[in-house]
């Protein structure tokens, strides 16, 4: 039995006796809460990030903007964002090198930059890297939403995190006190802690007899179980902090299921939920996958009846292309609503938009032939975190660029090979105080968006 384990037992005994001793959590190699004191000052001021995914790329001919810099004109599907012009930066030319030629894998690596293959697992997503920083001060380390299944978040071990598709369930998970009251919950956590002790002892007894290189799966098991131990302890501690009271109007708005037949209502409700989670500091990191690559939702309310996957494989059909632009514009309009809400709602540091970086876009550009270069990307908010906006940044504008007439080749091959999307993810991670100089295959930061 090692010292960490005794700490854990000790701490539980102390809390049982009501001494309220603060506990040093066992230190593990990944996903650790920051060492307390030094981190706390930085974390006093909330810094937040949210990542929103649009499946199947866009109608690139309507989306593209040919002018760069401050005087750029927003393209048709983006026009609705004109009022947020000073708070957004459309970026063209970014790509994930490992995404090229990998079809619909692009959603899985959008936030990881990872290489997925028969022998390669995905790697940590940037939101989870950020969550490592913010986790110690929020009740939930991150929030994963996804309307059709897969989340965009991947653990440090490259395992996809589960996600929630119903706004009602996500709302109840966050804001409703679980049944039975604090005492009963605490009893449950203690019981779980005790069981965790037993199964850890059990695994360690085997682990001790095996050499380092022979542990294989066992190490992963031990790490995961210990992490659950940390989480259980954290949940136990949070029991003493009551959940925020939500006013009845907001509650009835959010605590419900919304059909995808009403896509606008669905998206806005999810956006409202993220705003509330940020406002109440339940979490500071969120991802929202608005649709799966295979079946991105149709928009029945405006007469777009086909899913985005079918629309994106338009085969040049002008009617499908028109509907794809309609769908793009519709989705962007809902994102505009999100930015509206973030700028209206304030916490102690001012509008949430200033302390929230929002990244919107797709891992696909030209869906018809699975072109994953020059991705459609919009970065918004985060002025208080040192971001600067108001311009269209176009990484395609290099010597080699032969112009946007070279459609769709520019969506298949990076015009500017240095324009890795991981550069942008690294930039955002650093703004969130993640101590790293590199993220995935990043080559540097995107200084163009920094003050």
């Amino acid at each position: 039995m090692n010292i960490q384990r005794q700490n854990w037992l000790l701490s539980r005994r102390h809390v049982l006796k009501g001494l309220g001793v603060s506990v040093a959590l066992p230190f593990l190699n990944c996903m650790r809460p920051m060492r307390a004191a030094a981190a706390t000052d930085k974390l006093l001021k909330a810094k937040r990030s949210v990542f929103i995914y649009l499946p199947n790329g866009v109608n690139t001919r309507d989306w593209r903007m040919t002018e760069a810099g401050a005087g750029y004109k927003l393209s048709k599907p983006l026009e609705v964002l004109e009022k947020h012009r000073d708070n957004i930066t459309p970026i063209s030319g970014l790509y994930h090198p490992h995404g090229l030629g990998h079809h619909h894998n692009c959603r899985s690596i959008w936030l990881t930059g990872g290489k997925i293959g028969p022998s390669e697992h995905n790697t940590i997503s940037v939101d989870q890297l950020m969550a490592q920083v913010t986790a110690p001060v929020t009740r939930y380390s991150s929030l994963e939403l996804s309307n059709q299944g897969g989340s965009m978040s991947w653990s440090a071990d490259g395992v996809q995190l589960p996600s929630q598709s119903s706004p009602g369930v996500a709302f109840r998970d966050m804001f409703e006190e679980p049944r039975g009251g604090v005492a009963k919950q605490r009893r449950g956590y203690r019981r779980r802690g005790s069981i965790l002790d037993a199964i850890l002892d059990d695994a360690q007894s085997l682990s001790a007899t095996l050499g380092n290189e022979d542990r294989g799966r066992l190490d992963q098991y031990l790490t995961s179980v210990r992490e659950v131990e940390v989480r259980t302890e954290r949940s136990d501690k949070w029991l003493d902090t009551p959940r925020p009271k939500i006013d009845p109007a907001a509650r009835s708005h959010l605590n419900r299921d919304v059909s995808l037949q009403m896509l606008g209502d669905y998206l806005r409700t999810m956006y409202d939920l993220i705003v509330l989670a940020f406002q109440t500091d339940m979490t500071r990191v969120a991802t929202f996958n608005t649709g799966e690559e295979g079946q991105g939702p149709a928009v029945p309310e405006i007469g777009v009846k086909q899913d985005r996957h079918s629309l994106s494989h338009h085969n040049g059909n002008t009617e499908l292309l028109r509907q794809l632009t309609q769908s793009d514009s519709f989705n962007i309009a809902q994102f505009g609503y999100f930015l509206d809400r973030l700028s209206e709602v304030k916490d102690a540091d001012g509008p949430l938009l200033d302390t929230t970086m929002a990244l919107y876009g797709s891992g696909m550009a030209y869906g018809h032939s699975h072109g994953n270069a020059s991705l459609p990307i919009i970065l918004a908010g985060g002025a208080g975190l040192g971001l600067k906006h108001g311009r269209h940044i176009d990484f395609n504008l290099t010597k080699n660029f032969l112009g946007y007439d070279k459609h769709p080749a520019i969506y298949h091959r990076a015009v500017n090979e240095k324009a890795c999307m991981s550069n942008l993810l690294l930039t955002m991670a650093q703004r969130m105080d993640a101590q790293t100089e590199k993220f995935a295959d990043s080559l540097g930061t995107v200084s163009e968006v920094l003050v």
Binding site: E120, V159, L161, T209, L210, G216, K305, Q306, H314, N317
Partner: protein, 795 residues
């Protein structure tokens, strides 16, 4: 992050290599030809000059085509990954793929010397590679295996597919149980906790739920009319569990012959959980009985045939009571027109008299599973210990040790100390047993002693998870305990017993789904504008056809050849309609004979396969070729290089062109052609089937000028034999059954052993296939030969 262990799973090289061993006959020939005599040549003598002459220009220091460099390839043949890489090199040289045909070709002698050297090193490295395998291997249970094991252990249904229940299992080429893929994260552990608590609460509830009967029916003299999309009736389960539901109803097909689909709609999940087509005359209602597991939450009866409501319109429910279709009052001028002028339904209709349900029902067999695992008397610690020992021994599929039981008894002690009552404290220990790695991992090997063979306990689990997707039963445990399971006669007897058991259904369901990658069916739903006839029940029927077909081959113990080509299949009425075959009198799945003009038979032309290789709008010849290559020949073509130029949409002012015509234009580039020639010729054979698997002779092309072009489904096999159309293609494939048999054994072994097959398994795979030839590759013979082989019994 840690890469998956090479020892137990797929490596990058396997990807290209997968299944190459099924054609290793070729390799052996070359080896025996040159290695018979003489001094063993050194690398510098045999290989270096060969590489310099034939390979280095494209795979050397200057250029690395396909990202592959030969001169720096390590020569540590004890390393799995290195050995795999060399095996790939050897395979490509032997198969004549490298150097490419357009390049100067080496002499057979030079080739033989180089191949001989590689082959000898591979053989020599074998023992070292085996020794490097870890002393203990852990394979996590897949979701389905977890559910099966829980059911067999405690008689509790735990629905692993409910939202939030379990994470998705990552797959490797369709297989869901590959050890290196089934990683673990904290969220898994948390979900195992939740599952264990739920399962034990259901197995040992404080208050056992009473079996309740309920009934729901319309007002006396009326019937419920359910047109497509409409729901009626309230089924209210009192607790999750097994239910018997009976429904009296009439069911009228539409005038076009489409049958109504009776489904149980779950209000909470917002989807139907079970359903079937029904047919019964209005005057002669039938009684349908459904037995199923129901989760918590209310249900309604639904007519889930697509039709009037599937266009997004809503229809206000009429309050006019329905009595009969003859009732003139019902046929209102303002309502939806339900009947044509002959009084025949325009839409398939259900007319319901009543629904009854009963549950939750606990069968005696399930009750018995739960006996003797919980102390009879509160406070009897000694009995608790014995019960826990029994429970752990069954749950972990091997005897629990004293020390292990102690550990979990301590959980109980701590709970008692915290003030919990005796029973609750004991339950905590049981939760511990089910959240321990010993339960949800299959563990093979021992930490203290390296061994090559599995123990009898491990063999029992291998067998039961292979055939039943679950833990061994008492009989198998008893044989394992006696230490005789590995004896051939006893093992054979157990195999026969298990094959005859009802649980074999889990194998005949899971294996074809994974082998044939059926999870892809419905992943890219067909475009409703292009394929208005596609619906969820059709999708499900497609899956059931393929699974049912496999089950029939297994049950009747037919030859593997039937997977390629046959004059029968397994259909329900929905599929008969889809295939434009004569209507069936009964809606259920049944074996039917095929006529030549049906153009069906075997797996390759089943709708499920043809759909999963399409993308929702178009059929994809390349995907179909890759699928044939993987599923039938067990060989995965390399993935396309990045940066390929896309196929551009056809301009409106050009003549219409099939996908094939566009593709052939596209792959005229030599770099693309080298791979595509091999892949595409396997896919073009199925151009007669559209994206949802319907037969056609011309391809509907939305854009371009002129008439739709005719389908061209001709081509040549890899060995040069020409074919014209899918039927000829299948005939030629069936002649290749030896090759297919090798690939099939490899698929079976991948499934059973939970790992990718390597160069070191090749010889045994070949031997199993060859041994099965004498019995015409009958499926159960192949399985028996596999189970009796070293491959199955060794670590």
């Amino acid at each position: 992050m840690a890469l998956p262990s090479n020892r137990f799973g797929p490596t990058g090289y396997c990807y290209y290599m997968r299944g190459l061993f099924t054609v290793t006959g070729l390799i052996t020939l070359a080896i025996t030809r040159v290695c018979g005599a003489g001094e063993p040549a050194t690398f510098d003598q045999a290989v270096a000059p060969f590489f310099k002459e034939n390979c280095s220009r494209c795979h050397g220091a200057k250029k690395q085509k396909g990202d592959f460099r030969l001169d720096t390839l390590p020569r540590d043949f004890a390393d799995d990954a290195v050995a795999q890489r060399w095996a790939e090199v050897m395979f490509r040289m032997n198969a004549g793929e490298m150097p490419p045909k357009k390049e100067a070709q080496p002499t057979p002698e030079a080739l033989g010397r180089a191949v001989g050297w590689i082959s000898s090193r591979l053989d020599e490295g074998r023992a070292a590679r085996m020794a490097r395998r870890g002393p203990v291997a852990h394979y996590r249970l897949s979701r389905d295996e977890y559910a099966n094991t829980i059911y067999d252990l405690l008689g509790v249904y735990y629905d692993v597919n409910l939202p939030g229940a379990f994470n998705d299992d990552p797959r490797w080429h369709g297989f869901e149980r590959i050890g290196s893929m089934l990683t673990l994260s904290p969220s898994h552990v948390e979900r195992y906790f939740k599952a264990a608590e739920t399962v034990l609460e259901r197995a040992y509830p404080d208050q056992p739920p009473a079996t309740v009967k309920g009934r729901s029916e319309p007002k006396a003299g009326n019937r419920w009319l359910l047109f497509p999309g409409l729901r009626h009736g309230n089924i209210r389960p009192t607790a999750a569990g097994w239910y018997r539901i009976r429904i009296q109803l009439s069911a009228l097909p539409s005038f076009k012959g489409r049958m109504p689909h009776l489904a149980l709609w779950h209000d909470g999940l917002k989807r139907s959980i079970i359903g079937q087509d029904v047919i019964a005359p209005e005057e002669k209602p039938t009684i349908v009985e459904i037995q199923t597991f129901l989760p918590e939450g209310g249900l309604e009866l639904m007519n889930e045939a697509p039709g009037m409501l599937s266009d997004g319109q809503t229809l206000s429910q009429t309050d006019i009571p329905f009595v009969s279709t003859k009732d003139r009052q019902f046929i209102r001028p303002t309502g939806y027109k339900l009947f044509d002028d002959d009084g025949k339904p325009i839409f398939p209709l259900l007319i319901v008299d009543w629904v009854e349900w009963e549950g939750p029902i606990l069968s005696d067999a399930d009750r018995k599973k739960r006996e003797n695992l919980v102390p009879a008397k509160n406070g009897d610690v000694a009995d608790a210990r014995e019960c826990l020992n029994r429970f752990a021994t069954r749950a972990w599929r091997r005897p629990a040790t004293e020390a292990e039981v102690d550990r979990f008894m301590k959980v109980m002690d701590r709970e008692l100390a915290a003030g919990e009552n005796f029973r609750s404290a004991y339950m905590a220990a049981m939760v511990g047993v089910l959240t321990s790695k010993n339960f949800y991992y299959i563990e093979e090997g021992s930490a203290t002693r390296r061994r090559d063979t599995v123990s009898d306990w491990e063999l029992a689990s291998r067998l039961s998870y292979f055939l039943w997707g679950s833990m061994p039963d008492d009989a198998l445990f008893a044989v394992a305990k006696s230490g005789a399971l590995h004896e051939p006669a006893i093992l054979r007897a157990q195999l026969a017993r298990m094959t005859a058991d009802g649980r074999i259904k889990r194998f005949t369901d899971a294996f074809p789904r994974q082998w044939l990658q059926l999870y892809k069916v419905g992943m890219f739903p067909p475009d409703p504008e292009l394929y208005p006839d596609y619906d969820k029940w059709l999708e499900k029927s497609m899956l059931l056809e393929t699974v049912g077909y496999f089950t029939e081959v297994f049950g009747k113990n037919l030859s593997l050849r039937e997977f390629i080509s046959s004059n029968w299949t397994v259909l329900n009425s929905r599929l008969a309609m889809h295939y434009h075959m004569p209507p069936l009198t009964e809606p259920r799945f049944q074996r039917v004979s095929l006529r030549p003009e049906d153009h069906r038979g075997g797996l390759l032309t089943q709708a499920a396969i043809l759909t999963l290789t399409s993308d929702g709008t178009r059929h994809r010849p390349v995907h179909r070729g890759v699928w044939v290559s993987e599923a039938i020949f067990g060989k995965t073509p390399p993935p396309p290089p990045p940066n390929v130029q896309p196929i551009e949409p056809l301009p409106n002012d050009k003549p219409k062109a099939t996908v094939r015509m566009q593709l052939e234009d596209h792959v005229s580039h030599p770099i693309c052609a080298s791979c595509h020639n091999k892949i595409d010729s396997l896919g073009f054979a199925f151009d007669n089937y559209d994206a949802i698997g319907q037969w056609r002779t011309e391809e509907v092309v939305p854009r371009g000028m002129g008439a739709n072009p005719p389908v061209n489904a001709s081509g040549t096999m890899a060995d040069g034999r020409p074919y014209d159309g899918p039927d000829e293609f299948k005939r030629l494939m069936a002649q290749d059954v030896d090759r297919f048999a090798g690939a099939f054994v490899e698929q079976l072994a991948t499934f059973a052993l939970r790992r990718a097959m390597t160069i070191d398994d090749a010889a045994q795979i070949r031997a199993i296939a060859q041994a099965s030839k004498a019995d015409d590759y009958r499926l159960q013979t192949v399985i028996e030969n596999f189970v009796m082989s070293d491959l199955f019994q060794k670590r």
